[in-house]
């Protein structure tokens, strides 16, 4: 254990020093070997060297980052594509067999269906609650405290949140005292307690609650900032014209912050597509709660692992992200040209 802590600190030290040596060293080398003020250089050569230097230098700054992103993000995308076209041990080419398997496998289809359900419910609910809290909190003196508390789950891991909520959903036989809040409430109102996470279909929603609980804080923060960005004159003008709070909310606030709502929506959508920890910790896909990311993880290790099927599932997640990716890139590009 001691060894492991020392090695961690050593790595930090080595990493930081190596970064500095690299950046400082390459810069020094560049300036040393492509000097423009050296002896025996004509004016033209000197200018040439200047341009050459300024062409090389950005790539020196960028190289380590590009290297890591290349190895850990870009290369794997192509490798996954390749693996998806091969069999479980990646030795034989199988064409689209994995894809046809996926589209006919009931468990895959169920996971995809559940994912779709998650995609509809979680971003909607999180954005909705986030907007509600943002609007309410901005008008009240204790709004900041409220926002802090609702924001807090953002810091909690999905597994930690799963423990917290599993305790809420806990079930102890119909005659015992319930120690889970939900079942205690159900009992109080005369209902019969249930093991909620084992009730097919509806249990999906109980898992979704966990992610909504976490993501609402995110939506709230972004939307609250956007709401404050609405010019006060606009709201004032509407009030003078006699608009009600409801009219102001739907007629002015929502349209004004609509681009931000879209951003929040898409960001949460991506989180939802990758959701894995919650399902793994709560049910591990039992009782019809499987989702794609967990199914992929399952295939990755089951029976020694099936890299073909697992990669295929990963690709389906990637396909779903693709439109959002393109949309983001286009937005940033149009921003870039106006900069």
């Amino acid at each position: 254990m001691f060894e492991q802590v020392t090695s961690a600190f050593l790595t930090i030290l080595i990493g930081v020093v190596a970064c500095f040596i690299y950046f400082w060293g390459t810069n020094w080398l560049l300036d040393r070997f492509l000097r423009s003020d050296g002896p025996g250089l004509s004016g033209r050569q000197s200018v040439q060297r200047d341009t050459l230097r300024s062409r090389i230098r950005p790539w020196l700054f960028l190289f380590p980052a590009l290297f890591f992103m290349g190895v850990y993000l870009a290369y794997p995308v192509f490798a996954t594509l390749w693996l998806a076209l091969h069999d479980r041990t990646a030795t034989n080419f199988v064409g689209l067999a994995n894809f046809t398997w996926a589209l006919t496998d009931p468990r895959f289809l169920q996971a995809a269906g559940n994912n779709l359900l998650w995609l509809i419910v979680v971003p909607t609910a999180s954005t909705g609650f986030g907007l509600l809290v943002a609007v309410l909190a901005d008008r009240l003196w204790w709004g900041n405290i409220a926002k802090s508390l609702i924001f807090m789950p953002m810091a909690i891991s999905f597994v930690g949140a799963s423990v917290i909520w599993k305790f809420v959903f806990d079930f102890r036989g119909p005659d015992a005292d319930q120690i889970g809040v939900l079942n205690a409430l159900v009992q109080m109102f005369g209902g019969s307690p249930q093991a909620w996470i084992t009730v097919p279909f509806w249990n999906n929603f109980f898992l979704m609650i966990i992610l909504i609980w976490i993501q609402t804080g995110f939506a709230m923060v972004i939307l609250s900032a956007a709401l404050r960005g609405i010019p006060e004159e606009t709201l004032e003008a509407a009030r003078i014209d006699g608009a009600t709070d409801i009219q102001i909310f739907f007629g002015i606030m929502i349209p004004q912050i609509f681009p931000t709502i879209l951003v929040v929506w898409t960001t949460i959508t991506i989180t939802v597509l990758k959701v894995f920890d919650i399902v793994l910790a709560m049910t591990n896909g039992q009782w019809d709660t499987q989702v794609l990311a967990n199914l992929m993880f399952d295939w990755m290790f089951r029976g020694g692992g099936d890299s073909g099927r697992s990669s295929t599932i990963a690709l389906f997640i990637m396909f779903a992200v693709l439109p959002i990716m393109v949309w983001n890139i286009r937005n940033v590009n149009s921003e870039e040209t106006t900069r």
């Binding site: 992103m69 993000l73 810091a155 891991s157 889970g180 972004i222």
Partner: protein
């Protein structure tokens, strides 16, 4: 502690003419927000309270009753005949049901498991073996008989015990001692700290190049970084695992190492780091950069002496993001560090406990709290930077 946003436009005072209507609106807003806040905090509060409760109470009563006396059906076995004393021609066996200082008391008792409420404290019941027994509220009893006791097997006495609320750190001691949480805590730190620091420097240089250096292909690179922001981690896992295994079998080393996971987190964290830092650096005043350039300062010098110090808020934002993300990560740790007893991080350990000790709530609640306390401290002490990063980091 408060969430800060950069522009604090003052909310205009409600107009007097609308006084009555706005008052009602206000009341409703207060109530609705309070409801939401309670809804959102209740689960976490429950976890914290439960983790501090006595583990016997935790399993029989809801945590919201933590301050209320709980009742529990229990039984005790009375001592054998050899502990009797003779007093005034009677034979007596005395004793205590509860351990001294436990604070418990008897609500009612009986001699059969079906008759827990046969007698109130201070009352007397006749025993099947011989004589009669009196149990007092504090658990002391007196078993009296006219003839000598001869039983060879202590009879049982059944009772309803009233257990006063008790808060304790025992659960934490237990979970740190026996379930490996302590070890995992160290592992989590080992993974998180280097994985947070290493990407920052690498990203900062790249971000500077993308913000302030002119070269062909810059726009394309920015687009690539933005694209990579959303590439699902799932795409990377299998190829990287295969690569790590390949390297391990080639060098004869292990495939699941701390170095491997540090580098993996570095790679996965870079797009966000570069994006955040570039946005921030691009917003630094152009005049400063240009005048420094005219004064003959090199890019390297401008970066290290001006841009890096000025970018501190953005660096802090990213550091918090990366810290929280790595600390809370389960997927990358499971795949690249494995599930062995020695290498489990907190999230992995918690997941394992959920599977193996799913009903031991004293272990789960205290374990979960240990795993979330560090991010909560980071979060609440540095919330300002976190929020700022969140606002800058969501692709607009």
């Amino acid at each position: 502690m408060s969430i800060q946003t950069q522009t604090a436009t003052s909310v205009s005072e409600p107009q007097i003419s609308f006084f009555a209507r706005i008052r009602w609106g206000r009341m409703f807003a207060h109530a609705a927000l309070l409801f939401l806040v309670i809804l959102w905090s209740f689960p976490t509060v429950g976890l914290l309270v439960s983790s501090l409760r006595d583990k016997d109470q935790l399993t029989v009563s809801g945590w919201w009753t933590a301050l209320v006396v709980t009742e529990r059906n229990e039984l005790a076995r009375l001592p054998l005949a050899d502990s009797q004393v003779e007093e005034d021609g009677r034979f007596v066996i005395r004793g205590e049901i509860f351990e001294p200082g436990s604070g418990r008391s008897i609500k009612s008792f009986g001699t059969k498991s079906s008759e827990l409420a046969a007698a109130l404290p201070g009352e007397t019941l006749s025993m099947r073996d011989a004589g009669e027994i009196t149990v007092n509220r504090d658990g002391s009893y007196e078993w009296v008989s006219g003839e000598a006791f001869t039983h060879t097997r202590g009879p049982r006495i059944f009772f309803i015990a009233e257990i006063p609320p008790r808060f304790t750190l025992e659960n934490y001691v237990e979970v740190l001692d026996s379930s490996g949480i302590g070890r995992s805590f160290v592992n989590s730190f080992t993974v998180t700290v280097p994985a947070t620091i290493i990407p920052i420097l690498i990203a900062a240089f790249a971000a500077y190049a993308l913000a302030w250096m002119k070269f062909s292909g810059r726009g394309l690179l920015v687009a690539v970084v933005v694209g990579m922001l959303v590439v699902p981690l799932q795409m990377s896992l299998i190829p990287l695992l295969r690569m790590y295994n390949g390297i391990a079998s080639w060098t004869g080393g292990e495939s699941k190492t701390y170095l491997g996971i540090w580098l993996a987190h570095t790679g996965f964290g870079l797009p966000l780091a570069i994006y955040l830092l570039r946005n921030y650096m691009a917003g630094l005043p152009r005049e400063i950069m240009e005048s420094a350039r005219i004064d003959g300062a090199s890019h390297f010098k401008i970066f290290t002496t001006m841009v890096l110090p000025l970018s501190f808020p953005a660096l802090a934002s990213f550091a918090i993001f990366q810290f929280l993300w790595v600390w809370n990560d389960l997927l990358v740790a499971t795949v690249f560090l494995g599930n062995t007893e020695k290498t489990l991080v907190l999230t992995g350990r918690l997941r394992e406990l959920l599977g193996s000790r799913g009903d031991n709530w004293e272990i789960l609640t205290s374990g979960a709290f240990i795993s979330i306390i560090v991010p909560l401290i980071v979060f609440f002490s540095l919330q300002r930077y976190f929020v700022r990063g969140l606002l800058a980091g969501s692709v607009k």
